[in-house]
């Protein structure tokens, strides 16, 4: 029920706008997100835009994630093996890591 989908705002009036996802358009209320501008990506929940998607932040989160994966764990940690986490797709352990 917390289903909220990112859609792009393609046009708007004072109260509502048209949002689009992969060619599907719907009318969305902007009552909770009056500052949204045409071209913005917004999160749509139950027919209302509830927030804007910050593309820079999206990229920053991914960059942070990849940075964390590249980091070595502090030395002396049991179970990490030589050279730290060595994270990467080739990193062997098959044990159900992929959902």
């Amino acid at each position: 029920m917390c289903l909220a989908i990112p859609m792009q705002l393609t046009s708007r009036t004072e109260q509502e706008g048209t949002c689009e996802l992969h060619g599907v358009r719907r009318t969305v209320s902007l009552a909770l997100c009056p500052e949204a501008e045409v071209g913005d990506h917004v999160l749509v929940h139950a027919g209302y835009a509830i927030g804007r998607l910050d593309r820079e932040e999206a990229e920053a989160t991914l960059a942070l994630l990849d940075e964390v994966l590249r980091q070595e764990l502090p030395p002396g940690e049991p179970g990490t093996g030589p050279g730290g986490s060595g994270a990467g797709p080739a990193g062997g352990s098959a044990g159900g890591g992929a959902p």
Binding site: M1, C2, L3, A4, H22, S29, A31, L32, C33, P34, L43, H45, A46, G47, Y48, I50, G51, R52, L53, D54, R55, E57, A58, A60, T61, L62, L65, D66, V68, L69, L73, E77, P78, G79, T80, S85, A87, G88, P89, G91, S93, G95, G96, G97, A98, P99
Partner: protein, 370 residues
């Protein structure tokens, strides 16, 4: 299908899984984390994430499914209203099959002739009320802080456009009191939370400061892709290892520090916290929202109806599932008397309920060989 999505990336998923295992290996004792939001429970089950965790990291599902925590007497009240000839019940689809007392439900009431309509938005209910001025449209306001602002916005629109026949029956819940209660639960001994993503869009990351200052538990706000949840677990493990709990915002692409001020203001305009009962958790002080007295004319609870005495289903252990103290298969009714086709408790009906998620994705784990 629709192109590669970096948040569903298989390589990152594997790397994060290894990272989690490496961090867990350095823990002095087992840890227990809880994901609070029903949508997270669903996403975690669909990705089979629980199974990939090392044995000393336990991830339990919490009471963040608004349908699951709706008590039986709320449904009874909705059914009593539905029996009034001038009432149209407008509801999100999730509530349709939730059992009320004596195995009744909105679905059955509809078959008996009650006017029950499924809507995807409170605006649909507003539109119906406008088109049918002779009907009293009662919207079943169930949800957390993601959904309640949309209902507040609908009420604002009803007020602004002079629409007298749009009312709500409030069954909403707010997130802070149960979080505090769960932290204090001696059976659970929680070390950290995976915090809800979309509730946080409304409330803002700063809202959860009490988890650090008062409760001293680890916390991370994350999105809904498997990679997001795993990233959250890595963060929680590091907070625990370093003994430095904080609220990490890993969903900054939509969650800001302050949250959605417009939505918060609308909530405050129409609602005020009140003591509320949660299915399975009992009464939690100031844990739900009710309409302020000024909006009494919008409150469907004021319509005169006869309410039966509520009857919880026999043998149902939804409460313990919601608290995270048992997993669904430990309920004796699970997959025997209680199935998605014939649900006994709310946790099995809602698509976000722990029992429904488990039944769909996890009960055949051994067979599927994951």
């Amino acid at each position: 299908m629709t192109g590669p999505d970096p948040f569903h990336d298989r390589a990152r998923t594997q790397a994060l899984g290894e990272r989690i295992r490496a961090l867990a290996a350095g823990l002095p004792r087992p840890v227990t984390f809880m994901e609070v939001c029903g949508t997270h429970t669903h996403a975690i089950a669909a990705a089979g994430l629980r199974r990939t965790l090392p044995p000393n990291v336990r991830l339990v599902a919490g009471p963040g499914c608004p349908v699951c925590v709706t008590p039986v007497d709320y449904l009874d009240h909705a059914l009593a209203l539905a029996a009034r000839p001038e009432v149209t019940i407008a509801t999100f689809g999730d509530l349709l099959r939730v059992p009320a007392s004596r195995r009744d439900s909105l679905e059955r009431a509809s078959a008996r002739g009650a006017d029950v309509r499924i809507v995807y938005s409170p605006r649909d209910a507003l539109q119906f009320a406008r088109a049918h001025p002779q009907r009293k449209v009662v919207f079943l306001a169930v949800g957390f802080e993601t959904t309640m602002p949309t209902i507040a916005a609908a009420l604002a629109e009803a007020e602004a456009t002079g629409l007298p026949n749009f009312l709500i029956l409030s069954g909403s819940k707010i997130i802070e009191p149960p979080l505090r209660a769960l932290v204090q639960d001696p059976e659970l001994r929680l070390d950290g939370f995976i915090l809800p993503g979309h509730v946080s869009v409304i409330l803002g990351a700063d809202f959860y400061r009490f988890l650090t200052e008062d409760c001293r538990v680890a916390a991370a706000i994350v999105g809904f892709a498997p990679v997001d949840v795993q990233q959250g677990l890595v963060e929680l493990l590091e907070q625990v290892r370093n003994g430095a709990p904080r609220v990490a915002n890993l969903y900054a692409r939509v969650v800001t520090a302050a949250g959605n001020r417009t939505a918060q203001a609308l909530l405050d305009r129409f609602f005020v916290p009140a003591d509320t009962r949660w299915r399975g958790l009992g009464a939690i002080p100031r844990s739900g929202l009710v309409l302020r007295p000024a909006w009494a004319h919008r409150d469907a609870a004021r319509l005169p109806v006869e309410l039966p005495s509520p009857l919880e289903p026999q043998g149902c252990r939804c409460g313990e599932v919601l608290r995270g103290t048992i997993v669904p298969p430990e309920c004796p009714l699970f997959d025997r008397l209680c199935t998605p086709e014939h649900p006994v408790g709310a946790c099995m009906v809602s698509s976000e309920g722990s029992c429904a998620a488990w039944h769909r994705h996890e009960r055949h784990a051994a067979e599927v060989g994951r």
